[in-house]
Amino acid sequence: MIPDHNRLTIHQAHKLLKTKQLSSVELTKASLERIRQVEPKVQALVTVTEELALKQAQKADELIATGDIHPLTGIPIVIKDNMCTKGIRTTCSSKMLENFVPPYDATVVEKLNDCGVVVVGKSNMDEFAMGSSTEHSALFPTHNPWDLSRVPGGSSGGSAVAVAAGETIYALGSDTGGSIRQPAGFCSVTGLKPTYGRVSRYGLVAFASSLDQIGPLTQDVTDCALVLNAIAGYDTRDSTSVPYPTPDYTQCLTNDINRLHIGVPKEYFVEGMQAEVEIAIRAAIHKLEELGARVEWEVALPHTPYALAAYYIIAPSEASANLARYDGVKYGFSYQDADSMWEAMEKTRQYGFGAEVKRRIMLGTYALSAGYYDAWYLKAQKVRTLIRQEFDQAFDKFDALVTPTSPTVPFKIGEKVDDPLQMYLADVCTLPINIAGLPAISIPAGFANGLPIGMQIIGKPFAEETLLKIAHAYQQATEWHKRKPPI
């Protein structure tokens, strides 16, 4: 008898499946049972795909019986509800897509299905991935399993919670300004945003196309590498995916971070940051030093304070263009009681979109409109260049940069939901990385009064291996990632 199926990592579960000490059906039933148990409290899932999961588990068990299987075969996964799943509704947690059933799979879903995974559900998110708390879901808010009165972060809050609460063994999220890393930090799981272009975005509902990237949320770094192995790579259907070879990401998990040069950018220890977070992150960096890394404190990235404004001009601008497709004609919500075509379109968008989505469409439309384009959108794009150049210069010297994932521990539900600027600040440490298109990982690095603190490690473009190596060495030397929420 295996003690607790819901707390197995991918690599542990794989071993048990392969040696037939555990079947995929057993593992899947344990996951579904755990969902029944904790879902009323955390509300992480928009859709539970029980029937499909059991069918996939049976198929996985047949594969296992024949021998050679993939490390992900037969293992339960939750997928963020902005990735198209053929025949399974994909809502983006929006009224606009509440009943949308995609006729095709996203490339990542197709790749995972080819590995024989078991999809147990689709996870809740801020509507169209716009938010930092999952409170902007038009369906319901998700609760942090470490303290149910607090937010799980966002926008991939449902995915982070599903992993943290043991509803699934791992999950996929998407990250436009921190939407994988910030909830990973808030829920004490491992979350990776790969380099822009590393993972195909085909079938990911578009938010801000020059910033969006799909990545894994897992219980440790080894699992993260295994999932990245399965989803990374060039895709002819996404012309922004890069035709570079993909390494085996588990090969870099050597524990040897000797001589690696790590920089600590001082601008990320921002004003208004909680003292407990700063203390925990400084201690975690000292740990990396102990493990052999050469650390330089007080590295200067002087354009960092402008990243937030640049991001919140660029992302909404792209969003306003991407979301123009929701016109009530081809799919999605459609207002029928109008007298004219224009009225139908305006009302469709009025009732189909929530407050934050409307705010960003308005902000983006304004920044792109005649007379304001140069002062706002073009200016933000130029600042984007400066931020990227600054990172490039830092990476001439450093292998990685280390910062907190968020300036605070998870905040209370309701605390920031009516104050957009305060909510935007929750992404202050993560969004510069999307602006520059870099890879970054968040890993558990401590707790303050029982609430999780995440550490962010940032790397050069396409140097995911360096990040995984450092994060893995840290997890081998610490136990934070093994703590599970009291739920």
């Binding site: 919140y312 001009i313 029928q336 469409i361 957009p420």
Partner: protein, 95 residues
């Protein structure tokens, strides 16, 4: 940076976004606050700096114009709010 109600209504028209009176008032206030705090961007000297639209160096990605299988019409139309046989049904553009 103050955004008037008229400006909010103009942007909403550009975005074809219906708004209630309350939303117009709230957005006028919130967008003004947001843009005011984003004025910091104007402090950055960007003389001679080119804009960045995307972070990878790929440009003009081409592929061969090959015939590939497409989704069946019935599946594409399955999500249509209004359809007429094998067509999306739309309202008259000119009245």
């Amino acid at each position: 940076m103050k955004l008037s109600r008229e400006q909010v209504l103009h942007i909403a028209l550009l975005a074809r976004l219906g708004l209630t009176e309350t939303e117009v008032d709230r957005l006028s206030e919130q967008l003004s606050d947001i843009l005011e705090s984003f004025e910091v961007l104007q402090q950055v000297d960007t003389t001679g700096i080119p804009p960045t639209a995307q972070s990878i160096t790929l440009q003009n990605v081409m592929k061969d114009d090959e015939d590939t299988a497409s989704l069946p019409q019935s599946e594409i139309l399955a999500n249509a709010p209004q359809r007429d046989g094998s067509f999306f049904r739309v309202r008259a553009v000119l009245e």
